[in-house]
């Protein structure tokens, strides 16, 4: 019969509360480890699925190769899946507005190739015969060539051949007479389409511009079914069993440079790519969280088992005196650890799974909006792999066993006599600690006693205090991070809050005016924006701003040479804005007849520190004048009225300074084509801002209008949804972070509770003795209060400075990485909550122990003396 097991279970039953607290700690620890691992795995799966949805389900794809080469690839046992798209040929597009994209590139897809290549059909259906065609919507929005569903098109489809040799960006030198790859950019006169055959197609579907269509490739995507001739060439889309193998597999093919592409995002999310990337960050964060959980939990477990061993030292001593070996004692402690593990780990893992399931449901609704662009919709699912559960169980069990082993080993090495007397080696090294006279005068006898006990037990309390400090630091850091992010969200809103939807467009397309007619739009404004430069004296800027300007290379001599967005708005909109800005025609600045309104506060991005500085360019005056220089060197003089107000959407323009002018004065001064006058050739010349009753409906309605008018919907931005999405992300982070910290704090609280409770109980002989010489209940209460103060203050004395330091460090990192300027703010509510919590836990522990002591009674306490 196992006497040790009986002794152990008896001890655990006698200290029910303490045993329950440790088991609770194990449950929380196992739950947290499980939660962190499952969340990381689910997040990784989600990101991988997102990559599959946007870029396709392949690891590497090739430029067109022969079917023999395809067969060789398939024979490689590293290959898990190999899909092909047949490279049917190129056809010249008549009427393409994009000089760099004069072709249609026709591929033959099998049914599952649409999923593999992430082809998203927005209108119509897939091609089912070789006479049907699906075309990319970019054909119209970018190329200006409109194909409608049901339309019949006749195309001369042939090969792209180099007429003479040229150097390409993608594939290096292309020899004369060679067939050019689909991903090679348009070579103009150096290439031609030869060997053409006439094909007639019926357009059956329109798809979103696929991601596999490279930016520089000269052909818009068109898809039909494969011919599968002997001479056909195919692009291979390869997946290997182990994603990491794709690199070696590709290298073994000895491919020509530029003839293959990796699906980098998917490979990154599958953890296949080497080097520091987002997955590395995920792994590091996961490891960091696991480390924090391990530290917090170990502090509880080691402390708990140390106390259990100390409590049982006399019994161990007695057992050793009758012949129990050190190994037997250690084994009994390990068995206790196993029992506690058996009680706590399975429910802990179940709680972890349950907790993450709840989190996943909360995230599911917001995550797809935050992470996905376009119309691909990927749900955030829960990945529960048995391996992670085993890791969680194993890690928790190892912690328990180690925590039990360390103190057991210490006691088993003691001479049995010392063990029986409860004397530990380090005690003999301790200097004599008596009741200090000064403490007695200041705090009374009870306070001096509490202080002395605190100093004596300091070692044992170290673990509890460290875990309190850890929780405190994390809580306050999380609080300040959340408040920082919330402020940033509000900051974004202050830039975008005056409109719901924004559209930016490429040259003046008539279709954009139709957007104002979309469903639920309540008001809109349209700006034509072009870019010029102006000089502002450097002395107008602060020292910080001057440094930032210098970094960006925006200084010339005594002046700052800054870019200006000139936003031309309809006269009616301008009058509204002028009213808001308090501008009137009278009181102009003599020399120039054109007047503009300029918001006087500008923001400069510093390249190094990446923070922005609010600068007042008005130099205190309400009016001034600026000289603009266009790209072609032409100069314009304008009178400027400075204001703090901005019109709708006005903060969203690109350049450092924005000025507004009405259409009438703009066209009369610059001439009607003032964009050309300024020498501007760039894109995104139209900005439209809309306020709506129902942003979601309006947004969808606008997307339909874009498609109908051939506008690129890439220019549409649902600012309201983005802001809501960001706020949801913050809420999600709040839940995750505070949840994590709360659980960690539970462990810390359990640690404090068990430490204080047991240390007081170990002193029951002393307290019983004090009772016999007349220490009454009131005195005990006073002693308890002083104890609370000492323990709580110590935790706060270490914890608060460390927390503040951590906050400061985080603040600096956030400033640097996000580029937003924010004042350093203390999260007072968090600090107060943590102080109260620490005091509450300490008080609860001490009260519980005193209650237990009172129950024990004096004589029994005295009887626990020596042997």
């Amino acid at each position: 019969m196992n006497v040790f097991r009986k002794i152990t279970t008896d001890a655990m039953k006698k200290n029910r509360m303490r045993t329950a607290v440790i088991i609770a700690g194990v449950v929380v620890c196992a739950a947290m480890i499980t939660g962190v691992l499952l969340f990381a795995a689910s997040l990784q799966t989600f990101l991988a699925n997102s990559a599959r949805a946007t870029e396709g389900d392949w690891y590497m794809r090739t430029q067109p190769i022969s079917s023999t080469k395809i067969s060789t690839m398939m024979a490689d046992n590293r290959v898990m899946e190999l899909d092909t798209s047949e490279s049917i040929g190129f056809a010249k597009l008549s009427g393409s507005k994009n000089n760099d994209k004069p072709y249609l590139y026709i591929s033959g897809y099998s049914e599952n190739m649409y999923d593999t290549a992430a082809i998203n059909i927005v209108e119509g259906r897939e091609a089912r015969t070789s006479k049907e065609l699906v075309v990319s919507e970019a054909l119209y929005s970018d190329g200006g060539v409109r194909y409608r569903i049901g339309q019949k098109v006749k195309l001369e489809v042939g090969k792209r051949i180099a007429v003479r040799s040229f150097k390409s960006y993608t594939g290096g030198k292309v020899k004369a007479g060679a067939q050019i790859w689909p991903n090679t950019e348009y070579a103009g006169s150096a290439e031609e389409i030869t060997d053409t055959k006439t094909r007639t197609y019926t357009v059956v579907g329109i798809c979103e511009q696929p991601n596999i269509e490279e930016y520089g490739s000269p052909g818009y995507t068109a898809i039909t079914t494969p011919d599968n001739r002997a001479s056909s060439k195919y692009c291979a889309f390869v997946k290997t069993e182990d994603p990491k193998d794709i690199y070696d597999f590709t290298a073994d093919l000895n491919p020509a440079s530029g003839s293959y592409t990796y699906n980098n995002n998917l490979l990154t999310y599958l953890g296949a790519s080497s080097g520091f990337d987002s997955m590395t960050i995920l792994y590091l964060v996961t490891l960091l969280l696991l480390l924090i959980i391990t530290i917090g939990s170990m502090l509880l477990f080691v402390n708990a088992f140390s106390i259990a061993t100390a409590d049982r030292a006399r019994q161990f001593g007695a057992l050793m005196s009758i012949g129990a070996t050190g190994r037997q004692l250690r084994h009994s402690m390990l068995e206790e650890a196993l029992m506690i593990g058996a009680a706590g780990i399975p429910p802990g893992i179940l709680c972890g799974i349950g907790g993450i399931w709840v989190v996943k449901n909360i995230i599911s609704s917001t995550a797809s909006e935050v992470f996905i662009e376009g119309s691909a919709l990927v749900r955030f699912g829960l990945t529960v792999h048995p391996a992670y559960l085993l890791i969680a169980a194993g890690l928790t069990l190892c912690m328990l066993l180690l925590s039990a082993f360390i103190p057991a080993r210490k006691v088993s090495k003691l001479p049995p006599v010392d063990a029986m007397r409860g004397i530990f080696k380090e005690d003999s090294k301790k200097p004599r600690v008596g009741i200090s006279g000064a403490a007695r005068k200041m705090f009374g006898f009870e306070g001096a006693l509490a202080s002395r006990n605190f100093r004596l037990d300091r070692r044992r309390y170290r673990g509890a205090i460290i875990s309190l400090v850890l929780s405190l630091v994390l809580f306050i850091s999380a609080g300040s991070l959340i408040s920082f992010l919330s402020k940033e969200a509000d900051d974004i809103y202050s830039w975008t809050g005056d409109f719901d939807i924004m559209y930016t467009g490429v040259p003046l397309q008539s279709g954009s005016s139709k957007l104002a007619a979309a469903s639920a739009v309540t008001s809109s404004v349209r700006y034509k924006v072009f870019t010029v430069r102006t000089k502002v004296p450097l002395k107008n800027f602060t020292k910080e701003a001057r440094a930032a300007l210098k970094e960006n290379g925006l200084t010339k001599g005594k002046n700052a040479n800054i870019y200006v967005s000139v936003a031309v708005m309809p006269d009616s909109a301008f009058s509204k804005y002028a009213k808001k800005a308090g501008y009137s025609e009278s009181g102009n600045d003599g020399s120039s007849s054109v007047k503009v309104i300029a918001p006087k506060e500008i923001y400069i991005y510093s390249g190094n520190g990446s923070y922005t500085t609010g600068v007042d360019i008005s130099n205190g005056s309400k009016r001034g004048h600026m000289r603009f220089t266009g790209d072609n060197g032409r100069k314009f003089d304008v009178g400027v009225y400075y204001t703090s107000a901005s019109p709708m959407g006005g903060r969203s323009f690109d350049q450092t300074i924005t000025v507004y002018m009405p259409e009438s004065s703009g066209s009369s001064f610059f001439g009607s084509d003032y964009i050309k006058a300024a020498g501007n050739n760039g894109s995104e010349k139209i900005y439209m801002f809309f306020k709506t009753k129902d942003p979601a409906t309006t947004y969808n309605s606008m997307k339909r209008i874009c498609r109908a008018e051939g506008l690129s919907s890439a220019g549409l931005m649902n600012a309201q949804a983005d802001y809501e999405g960001f706020k949801n992300l913050i809420s999600m982070m709040k839940i995750l972070m505070y949840g994590f910290i709360m659980l960690l704090s539970l462990i810390a609280a359990a640690n404090v509770f068990s430490t204080i409770a047991t240390n007081i109980l170990l002193r029951r002989h002393e307290f019983a003795m004090l009772q016999t010489v007349g220490m009454g209940p009131k005195n005990f209460v006073r002693m308890v209060c002083y104890s609370c103060i000492f323990y709580g203050m110590r935790a706060l004395a270490y914890g608060l400075p460390i927390a503040l330091l951590a906050m400061w460090g985080m603040y600096k990192i956030l400033l640097y990485s996000t580029g937003t300027y924010m004042a350093f703010d203390l999260p007072w509510s968090c600090i107060i909550v943590s102080i109260i919590s620490i005091i509450a836990v300490v008080v609860a522990s001490i009260l519980y122990s005193m209650h237990k002591l009172r129950k024990t009674g004096t004589m029994e306490g005295l009887r626990t003396a020596g042997f």
Partner: protein, 227 residues
Amino acid sequence: MKILEVKKLTKIYGSGEGAVKAVDDVSFSVEKGDFIAVVGPSGSGKSTLLHMIGGLDEPTYGHVYVDGEDLYKQNEEQRAIFRRRQVGFIYQYFNLIPALDVRENIALPVYLDGREPDEARLDELIGLLGLSDREKHYPDQLSGGQQQRVSIGRAVINSPSIVLADEPTGNLDSRNSQEIVELLKDSNKRYKQTLIVITHDEDIALQADRIITIEDGRMSEYGAVRT
């Protein structure tokens, strides 16, 4: 035949000016089957001496030979086995395990050896100790005298060659004290066990074969009680 030999045994606690010599250069030998009483004033080092003999506390200097073996040349594992099989310890405050009943407490050294007790021997011993009607009781359900009997049972279950008792009657009334001493003497005679008892009780000391007197850690006398 010498069962125990103590040579120049010394135990010093602390160091420097605060050093205390609990046992100072004590040497003696004990024949098998002897009943030795150790007497002396409080704090004279009697318990310390007993602990060193029983392998519980390592001496600063000196040797303890049990059956010819130097006790402190062995490692802790070996000493634990020694304590299990060759020594029985009886304390003033019993030191029973609260979680085990009478039967289990007595059989504890056997269990520590990884064996099951001989039920017949256990029954006989429990009968001899007068605990037959209490064998399923727990320590907190027993009187002081009954607890000390359990202690004795535990000390002798493995038929050790030496039984060491530190003030075995210190916590008992006179009637119980005498009964305990009779049990110890009976065990000493019956099983030829060497018995070394620390006691303040002159009556008990006079029942021994020899008395060792310890004063300030030094052995001042080692003499036969009866010639």
